[in-house]
């Protein structure tokens, strides 16, 4: 079992000049509450500038991991380093370098938005002028200028989420830790938040925990899937989809003589199966299955159609979604446990 799990963990083990290359280094991180093990022997690293998504069902240990990395909780065993500083022994140095938005986004409801962001800026080491300027900047980035003078208790949930996000960004930290950052946002706000988070990558390292798999898929470079305190998989989303071992599917509509089309597809490299049915007009709807690890076949398909002087009006590829990967891995874990029992 352990070797199977290890097979999913594809992160690099190279630790050269660690503090410069890695923003986060976690080794053997474990947290126990009495007999209950919230996280168990976590090992992962995050490069500077990377956007890592932490996925997992309820109780997987995501928030516990983020709380340990933000120095709020101490681990039972193992180590975690942020920018080369240990989260337990050098927590003050770590806290200078992080912006953290906890789950449920707690805020001081008796303060005004602008006042709150200035206060948080000063608390994080900015002087009066810097905190004022940064508060203006993050309010602009998070679209809070309209509500700058409002009391936070008067704001809707969506606006409060944005205030929390602005708070995490106000000191321009090296590492930004966001626990469920898009909770409560409407679709427009989710899109804006997603774009904001994507723009942060490169300049900042971002660690996001979310239940919304689609958002993680669109925002993150890499995903860490947790279940019951253990890592099931850690890789970028494309590789994860191929790890599942499923095929990828290409859907195309081609106008061609049926027999010639069947012959060409039969000899097409990498094709596992082809399902051809009549479509509107003289077109045939072809649903083609390829090996998951095969290269993108769309360009070769296009060349085949053009080379035979046929017509093409649709060419799309669908890979297993992150949700498919997630369900597959967590179900596999559950089945293995049942088999053991």
């Amino acid at each position: 079992m352990e070797s199977d799990r290890q097979g999913f963990i594809l992160t690099s083990a190279v630790m050269g000049d660690a503090s410069k290359e890695w923003m986060i280094e976690v080794k053997g991180l474990t947290k126990r509450y009495g007999d209950f093990e919230a996280i168990s022997n976590l090992n992962f690293t995050v490069k500077r500038g990377e956007i890592l998504g932490l996925l997992g069902p309820n109780g997987a240990g995501k928030s516990t991991t983020l709380r340990i990395l933000s120095t709020f909780l101490a681990a039972t065993s193992g180590t975690a380093k942020i920018a080369g500083f240990d989260v337990f022994d050098e927590s003050h140095e770590v806290r200078k370098r992080i912006g953290y938005m906890p789950e449920n986004n707690p805020l001081y409801l008796d303060m005004r938005v602008y006042e709150y962001l200035k206060y948080r800026g000063r608390l994080k080491g900015l002087d009066t002028r810097q905190s004022r300027d940064r508060a203006e900047t993050v309010m602009k980035e998070c679209d809070l200028e309209d509500v700058r003078r409002k009391m936070i208790r008067q704001l809707s949930l969506g606006y409060r989420q944005r205030v929390g996000l602005a708070d995490a960004l106000v000191s321009e930290p090296e590492l930004i830790i966001l626990d469920e950052p898009t909770l409560g946002l409407d679709p427009n706000q989710v899109r804006a938040a997603r774009q904001l988070i994507k723009n942060l990558g490169g300049k900042h390292t971002v660690l996001i925990s979310s239940h919304i798999l689609h958002e993680v898929e669109m925002t993150c470079n890499r995903v860490l899937i947790l279940n019951q305190g253990k890592i099931l998989a850690s890789d970028d989303t494309t590789h994860l989809q191929s790890v599942m071992g499923q095929s990828s599917r290409v859907v195309t509509q081609i106008k061609a003589p049926l027999e010639d089309l069947k012959f060409s597809l039969k000899n097409f490299e990498g094709l596992l199966a082809a399902d051809i049915s009549a479509a509107e007009g003289d077109y045939y709807l072809c649903s083609l299955s390829f090996k998951a690890e095969a290269a993108d076949p769309r360009e070769d398909l296009y060349k085949m159609v053009v080379g035979n002087n046929w017509f093409l009006r649709e060419l799309t590829i669908s890979r297993p979604s992150l949700e498919d990967v997630f369900v597959h891995l967590t179900r596999k874990e559950q089945n293995e446990e049942e088999d053991e029992e």
Partner: protein
């Protein structure tokens, strides 16, 4: 120091920028006003050889207001932040436990000083009308206010300790009220009930806050109870600091 000042401003902002603070100040000032009225009434109607500040101390108003106001002021210091979750964003900022503790303690102590200021200003104003230093002694007023602050510091530190122990403001208030009441009962027993001679009576006599307040109301500042109050305050602040640190070891 910058972080401490920022946190202290935040605490004072909560006290004076929100309705809660003004409700507590209003209630305390009401009792203080009743206290002052009662003192002046007695001065007018009863012959006495006590000064105004001694009468203030023996009128029980001081203890009543202190026992009620200290838990009310301090119960939200840590408990409120833990229950709302803002404790997490506070402690994950680059601040240390001591800065947080001292800012909350100093903020509560300043609030306590503001509550008591009107009664002593009233006594000073009375000095202009009663040109008799035996009745209204300026030195006695200053020493009594100083004693009020010192005893208040002890009660505020007890309140911070109670608040750090729990998420519930009610439990925090009850813990600090109970501890404060215990100290008060010990002091009053020494003052009004002559204990049997022995080691216990000796210890109780040394820690009696009532004795200290009585001396200060007469214009006498004794270093021994002053040292006791300062060390006791630091003891409870130290215990509070340990409770805050315990979070990292759970």
């Amino acid at each position: 120091m910058k972080v401490f000042k920022t946190l202290l401003r935040r605490e004072l902002g909560f006290c004076f920028g929100a309705l809660n603070g003004y409700v507590i100040v209003s209630a305390a000032l009401f009792l203080v006003g009743v206290c002052f009225y009662d003192l002046v009434y007695r001065l007018n109607n009863q012959p006495t050889d006590m000064t105004l500040t001694e009468m203030f101390f023996f009128s029980w108003y001081f203890w009543l207001i202190l026992l009620l106001s200290a838990p009310l002021i301090t119960m939200r210091t840590f408990a409120h932040e833990k229950s709302t979750g803002t404790y997490e964003i506070l402690m994950t900022a680059p601040v240390n436990d001591i800065q947080v503790l001292m800012s909350k303690f100093c903020g509560a102590l300043f609030f306590h000083a503001i509550i008591w200021l009107p009664v002593f200003i009233s006594m000073l104003l009375l000095r202009f009308y009663i040109n008799n230093p035996l009745v209204v002694n300026i030195t006695g007023i200053i020493t009594t206010y100083f004693a009020v602050l010192m005893v208040g510091a002890l009660y505020i530190s007890i309140g911070c300790f109670g608040s750090a122990l729990t998420r519930s403001q009610i439990v925090a208030g009850m813990v600090s009220f109970t501890l404060g009441m215990g100290i008060f009962m010990l002091s009053v027993n020494v003052l009004f009930v002559v204990p049997d001679p022995g080691p216990l009576s000796l210890i109780l006599a040394k820690i009696s806050l009532a004795d200290y307040m009585r001396d200060c109301s007469r214009g006498i500042l004794d270093s021994r109870p002053f040292i006791f109050l300062v060390t006791s305050t630091f003891l409870f602040l130290f215990l509070t600091w340990r409770v805050l640190e315990w979070r990292r070891w759970r």
